[in-house]
Amino acid sequence: MELEIQDISKSLDRIYTLDKVSIQVKDQEFVAVLGPSGCGKSTLLNIVSGLIPPDQGRILIGGEDWTGRTGRVSYMQQNDLLLPSRNILDNVIVPLLLKGIKKNRARDVAHSFFADFGLEGFEGYYPDQLSGGMRQRAALLRTYLFASDILLLDEPFVSLDAITRRKMQLWLRDIRINYPSSVLFVTHDIDEALILADRVYVFSARPARVIYQLDVTAIRGDEHSYNSAKLEILNKLM
């Protein structure tokens, strides 16, 4: 599914946060947005998800205007936000239940993904009993079950330790072969963006503007261009 962010501007509490941001995510494409902390990346995702309306601009999904309307794309925030009151299986079925699917059927559907998401055998555990990496995978599965065609991921691995984070990045890269959703991924970690994304947008500090674009697929596997791209991005961010 195609996502088009057109000329979005937004002020929050009188602070000019987003300045005419335009981003295009093609069908099955993984797009990363890189930017300094606090530059308005999360605000952009809040707008795309429909939680807050933009001051200007439009959100088009598959050509249809979804500006300021929730319920179309799935959105995963920095924290896993799993309900402590439900076990893992009953947490990931929440989006299915909200769509009106019966509990037993929802459990069957969700359970068929458990092996791929590395959650098999932990269906009955509560979030508090699991490690951060597992919780993030569960949150990602819940996100995927809500809308599998467009995923917004807001620094999903930022709260994990370095080793788990790297494992999760590699896992996400591998699992995308079987689950080719369109993804808009926000991060401030250059390596993470370059490992995962097909294309990278670089934001300026507030108010966020797109200051650089990079097609990662063109340089993937070429260590020299990879390193120079990394330096280039670093320069832009400084």
Binding site: S74, Q77, N87, V94, L98, Y126, D128, Q129, L130
Partner: protein, 257 residues
């Protein structure tokens, strides 16, 4: 080693309790204190057993008042929170009054209730509600306020209705805090009913104690106190059992990788 230390810690309060009773018993015997000043614990127990039927009748009355007041408090707390959720301005207006209501001396109110509503069931239940409602309502409000706003945003982004957000997120996540308030109220509910009876009644443990007190039957008073303590403990245990059943996710905390 560790395990035996744990058992020791568990037994410690019982040992102290038995020790205190022994000192009490010895003191009464050594100085042969008269019955109308301080009876020995053995005597209190004897009295409790010999007046068992009378005590039981009064206990049932007090327990009934306490339970009725306690149940009303829970229902009222939920109604209040429901309306607070529906109309945030109502909360602005009522919350300070709710807090101030707790500063009024309970005894005075208990007396006034007897004047206004007579010697029947109503004034006692009102006293119990006055004591129990506040901790329950506050803990419920706290629990709901404590829900991560991001969690609610997530559910909104998934298109959940307000009712769904309430039943799936706010209510279950407020339960642990709610039970903390419920435990406090359960402790006080019996005591509150007794205070209500003390100010004017025709039955109940509070009424029974006023009679005994006037006759200097200290052993009987203490036997009633014993019943009050046991009942309060029983109610707390019941609340804890309900919490164990309704909040299963807080039972264990083992991490799996």
């Amino acid at each position: 080693m560790r395990k035996s230390a744990n058992i020791g810690l568990r037994l410690a309060p019982w040992l102290v309790f038995v020790l205190l009773l022994t000192v009490w018993e010895m003191a009464v015997r050594i100085w042969s204190l008269p019955l109308w000043i301080l009876p020995a614990p053995s005597r209190v127990l004897q009295t409790a057993i010999s007046s068992f039927h009378l005590l039981l009748d009064h206990t049932m009355v007090t327990l009934g008042e306490a339970m009725l007041g306690f149940t009303c408090s829970v229902v009222l707390a939920f109604l209040l929170v429901f309306f607070f959720n529906l109309l945030p301005c109502l909360r602005q207006a009522l919350y300070p009054l709710l807090v101030i209501s707790q500063t009024i001396p309970l005894i005075t109110l208990a007396v006034l209730f007897t004047i206004w509503f007579g010697w029947g069931l109503l004034p006692k239940v009102l006293v119990v509600i006055l004591v129990c409602f506040f901790p329950i309502a506050i803990s419920l409000i706290r629990g709901i306020d404590g829900v991560d706003p991001e969690m609610i945003d997530l559910f909104r982004s998934m298109g959940a209705s307000r009712l769904k957000i309430w039943t799936m997120v706010q209510f279950p996540l407020a339960l642990p805090s709610f039970f903390a308030g419920l435990r406090i109220s359960a402790t006080y509910s019996i005591m509150a009913a007794v205070i209500g009876e003390w100010m004017g009644a025709q039955q109940g443990l509070g009424f029974y104690m006023t009679l005994l007190q006037k006759n200097f039957a200290v052993d009987g008073v203490l036997a009633a106190v014993l019943i009050i303590c046991l009942l309060s403990l029983l109610l707390v245990k019941l609340v804890e059992l309900a919490e164990y059943l309704l909040v299963p996710w807080q039972r264990t905390n083992t991490i799996h990788y």
